[in-house]
Amino acid sequence: MKKLKELNVHYYAVLREMTGKSEEDIESFAATPGELYKDLAGKYGFPLNSRGIRVSINEEFQGMDATLCSGDCVVFITPVAGG
């Protein structure tokens, strides 16, 4: 049975503009960042295909299939620009 987690999600750049916020606390049953992304894509109209999008959990890059825990700070990293 999936467990409800409390997650803190931060948004940057295009995702920040699409959600209209820099961060939010979310209660979610998502087990992985991949599942969480799908939920958010449905809610905010993010692109359904997450290819090229990376995820960071607590300031470390992780796989889209990593395990989410309550209290995690999650950031989806759309393709970057650098200098």
């Binding site: 940057y12 295009v14 920040r16 692109p47 090229g52 960071s56 890059f61 970057v80 620009a81 200098g83």
Partner: protein
């Protein structure tokens, strides 16, 4: 040393951290806001940085460079916020005994930074709506 900065990058201050009497070569790269990109006239730029992760990832890149190349030190900085044409967006300085490793390491660090640092760039144009761009030029990574 790598920092994300809200204020103009002071290249003199950064260079001063790269003084070492064993250094025969100093190579630096300065990324500046240019007035054009992919055929469009650019008016200004906005950099958004996920600071915590960017700082960690930059230090990782610097450590990789020190392992891969025979260099003495690396110092760098990346701007965030609103930048005008000519402003410095990113600065990387490397010192080494010899110039070969200094050039290679400087190139390595800026290439990795462009691909790995969580930094996003919004271009404001003279004649059309602004747009978030990625460094993967021509690869169509735009989201909208």
């Amino acid at each position: 040393m790598f920092r994300v900065s809200n204020v103009p990058i002071d290249t003199d201050l950064l260079s001063k951290q790269l003084i070492n009497s064993s250094a025969g070569a100093f190579v630096c790269f300065e990324g500046r806001v240019r007035n054009h990109n992919e055929g469009s006239e650019v008016a200004s730029l906005e950099y958004e940085v996920y600071e915590g992760l960017a700082a960690k990832e930059a230090l990782r890149i610097v450590e990789e460079a020190k392992e891969k190349f025979d260099i003495l030190d690396v110092v760098g900085a990346h701007r965030q916020g609103h930048l005008e044409i000519g402003d410095i967006a990113v600065w990387i300085g490397v010192i080494a005994s010899h110039r070969g490793p200094a050039f290679s390491a400087c190139r390595y660090v800026i290439d990795e930074i462009k691909h790995r640092l969580p930094v996003w760039k919004k271009e404001h144009y003279k004649d059309k709506a602004p747009r978030w761009v990625s460094c993967h030029e021509g690869e169509g990574h735009e989201i909208r």
